[in-house]
Each structure stands twice: as structure tokens, then as C-alpha cells.
């Protein structure tokens, strides 16, 4: 491994959160972003090639060294880590609506799920999975919610583009048929493009 590769390995090991390439560049004044990215690839290949127990994972816009899935059970059995509490179906559904439609207000979330959302929104905010990203121009200027980097971390996604695209889902909503719905409903018909 070259010195830059070693430096990145040390930094990723020391950090307890995903670190962005931009942050990693600041480790070495002589390194460029491209060199850092190349070194990260080298580090990842090194771990893969030598069958290490950890790997370099792209997560929430950054990089993190994580243990490989195969060892999760053993590590948990030995009680070396604590698994985060599970998400309820209500939390997951609410996150699904927010992830695809952000920025989105409470009224739209409630319309889609058919139930009141204030409690679950508060819980998700407390867990820092969503945050208020602004206010709507509509009546009463309701709060608009969006997902946080913590949300991406929880799902193990590099960014929001890695959510399944609407057309990949088995139930893809069709574009509105003019004879079926009025113009007011048309906007809600279009699946968020992600």
C-alpha cells in the first residue's frame, strides 16, 4: 500500500462515521481529490483481495470501514455491539413517502398513508432520520420535511439516487389518465423521479 492509502486507512479507522472524499483530501496537503479516490479504490481492492474481515463501503455521501455481513451474528452473539432499535411499519412508510417526495409537508404524508402523522414525524425527527428543510408557500406555511444523512447511513445507501426507481417497483404508478382524474389530482399521480 502506498503512503496515501495507509493514511486514508488510518483516518477511516479512526472516524466513527462516514467520511467524505472532500474531508479526506484535507489529510494530505499534496493530495488531489482524484488521488484520494484512486487510493480509496486501492484500499477497497486490498481488503477484498486479501479477504479482510472489513471492507470500505460508500455510505451517506462518504466512506466508512465496516465489518463484512458474514460476521454480524458472531459479533452480536459476543455482545460486542448493540443493534439499533427496529423501525415500525408506520415509521418505514412515512420515511418512504418523505424519501421520494421531499421536501414534503405533513398533509401530503397523511393523505398518502391515510392516518395522522404527527407522532411518527416527531419520532423520526428525534432519531435524526428526517429534518425540517423549509416551509411551504401554501396556506399556513406548513413545515416541509426531508431525509438526513443519518437516513442514508441507516439504509446503507451512498446517496438518494440509490433508492429503487419507481419503475423498478412492481407497482409503478401510471401517468394520469385524463378521463380518470381531474387536473387537480394529476400532480399527485406522477411518481417522484429517483
Amino acid at each position: 500500500m502506498n503512503p496515501l492509502c495507509q493514511l486514508l486507512e488510518a483516518a477511516l479507522f479512526a472516524a466513527s462515521r462516514p467520511v467524505t472524499a472532500e474531508e479526506l483530501v484535507t489529510l494530505d496537503p499534496d493530495a488531489t481529490l482524484d488521488e484520494v479516490r484512486a487510493a480509496l479504490d486501492e484500499l477497497r481492492e486490498h481488503y477484498d483481495f486479501d479477504n479482510h474481515g472489513v471492507e470500505v463501503v460508500e455510505l451517506a455521501g462518504g466512506y466508512q470501514i465496516l465489518s463484512r455481513p458474514a460476521f454480524a451474528d458472531a459479533i452480536e452473539r459476543a455482545q460486542l455491539t448493540v443493534r439499533a432499535s427496529r423501525l415500525t411499519p408506520a415509521m418505514l412508510e412515512t420515511l418512504a413517502v418523505i424519501a421520494y417526495r421531499q421536501p414534503v409537508g405533513r398533509a401530503e404524508i397523511e393523505e398518502i398513508r391515510g392516518v395522522s402523522a404527527s407522532g411518527v414525524l416527531r419520532t423520526l425527527q428525534e432519531r435524526e432520520l428526517i429534518e425540517v428543510v423549509g416551509r411551504s408557500e401554501g396556506l399556513g406555511r406548513p413545515l416541509l420535511y426531508g431525509t438526513t444523512p443519518m437516513f442514508l447511513e441507516l439504509l446503507g445507501l451512498p446517496d438518494l439516487q440509490n433508492l429503487p426507481r419507481a419503475e423498478e417497483l412492481s407497482i409503478a404508478l401510471q401517468p394520469p389518465k385524463p378521463e380518470a382524474v381531474g387536473p387537480d389530482d394529476a400532480a399527485a399521480y406522477v411518481p417522484a423521479d429517483r
Binding site: 479507522f13 455481513p69 418512504a96 398518502i112 391515510g114 395522522s116 439504509l155 446503507g156 417497483l169 404508478l173
Partner: protein, 261 residues
Amino acid sequence: MTNPVSPATVLGPVVLSPGPPIDPARSGDGFVVELEAFSGPLDLLLHLLWEEQIEIADIPISRVADQFLAAIGDLGLNQAADYLEMASRLVRLKAQMLLPRSESEAWEDPRAELVRRLLEYQQTREIAHWMAGAVERRGLRLARGYLPPAPELPPLPLTLDLGDLLFAVERVIAGILHPVLHRVVARPLDVEGATRTLEALLSERGEFLWTAALPARPTVSDVLSLLLALLELARRGACSFLQPASFAPLRIRRESALPAA
């Protein structure tokens, strides 16, 4: 959580069945428990449709509305506004479907909005299902998890003003379940009586111990009455008193103002 309803599984003649979600053993329970089984009225509706293998696009509104009402009744969900709102929507749709349609005019299916919402919700649920899987997969990869416990900070110096203190007292008092009430009785002090006793003693003796002015078994009010009388007489110049040592009994001495008997 994926949608089990597909065109291939739609049966022709659908047989009405009560369906297993309405478990008689569970009916009568609080609706909170039931809300955990269904995450909302749309979820319940999808379940009813799935039970009967009904295509979402062609909902037999009349029957589904009846079933929905029966379900929320049996589930003890009567208090849940979200379910009632959907129930009223279904009943209205049922009425609309009964209206005669004229063949000449373009007929707008009143179910379109409900169908749109159901599909939208179904898609949301599918995404939620995918997300649950993603969370599960991510959970198998562990980051460096050990965080040393935060060092204990020394307690901050106590800064209080009178307002804080009174507020704290009020809170403590408010927290007492059964407040202990004391009736405060004003004990009459007999200062005049004590004064008379002192004057009588002063007229007899030039100097005496204060205990001489007390009855054999003095009460608190006797002592207090005597003290007040003593102070009053001393102020008037009728007597003076001195204490030879700490905690020693007071010696009371007649002053010249009061003529000796």
C-alpha cells in the same frame, strides 16, 4: 408486503368470506393493539381486497364498504378517526355507485380517487418493505461501535436566587400527594399577667432569678409571656437584667423607678 393481487390471481366469482383478520378473540380489545396490526385504513382496505382477491381497479364498492364497516366494528376501532373518515368515504362512494348513469354522457368513475390512493399507498408500502430490507442488510455491517462513556462532569456551582428557591419549594409542595395541613391556633400570651407577677416580685425583692416569676410547670407561652413582659418593663426602666454567664439564668434587678414596697 408485496402486492399479492395481480391480474392473474383475480378470480371470477368472488365468494364473500369474513376473512381471518377479524379474529373474534381479539375483538373488544383496545383499538391501539389493532392499529399495530394495520397501519391505517388503507392498509385494512388493501387487506380486505387481498382476502377476496379483488383487483384494485375494479372494487365492488358496495360489498367492500359493508366489509370495512364490519371490520372496524369488530376490531374495536370505532374511536379511530382515520378509520371513520375512510368508512364515510366508502359509504358515499357506495351511494354514488347506485345513482343511475346516463349512457350518453361521459361517466366519471367515482372510485377513481380511491383507486389512485390505494395504488399510491401500495407503492409506498412496497418502498417501505424495500427499506426494511435495506436497513436489515445495513445492520449486518458493523462500524466501529465502541464509544467510551462520557466523562462525568463535576456538578456546576449552585446558583439560586430567592425566586428559584420559592419556585422549587412550590414544586415540592405540589408534588405531595396528601398535603399535611396544620391548623395554626393562636395561643394567647398572657403578657399582662406576667407583668403583674413581675411587678409583684419586684416590689418584694430587689433582685431575683427569672425562674422565680414562672409557675412550677411553665409552658412555652408562660416563658414567652414572661420574656415579653420583662422586655417591656426593662424598656420602661422598671427593672434591668443581666446574665452572669452563657446559658445562666437571668438575674432580674429592681430599678429605682419602681418604689420599693
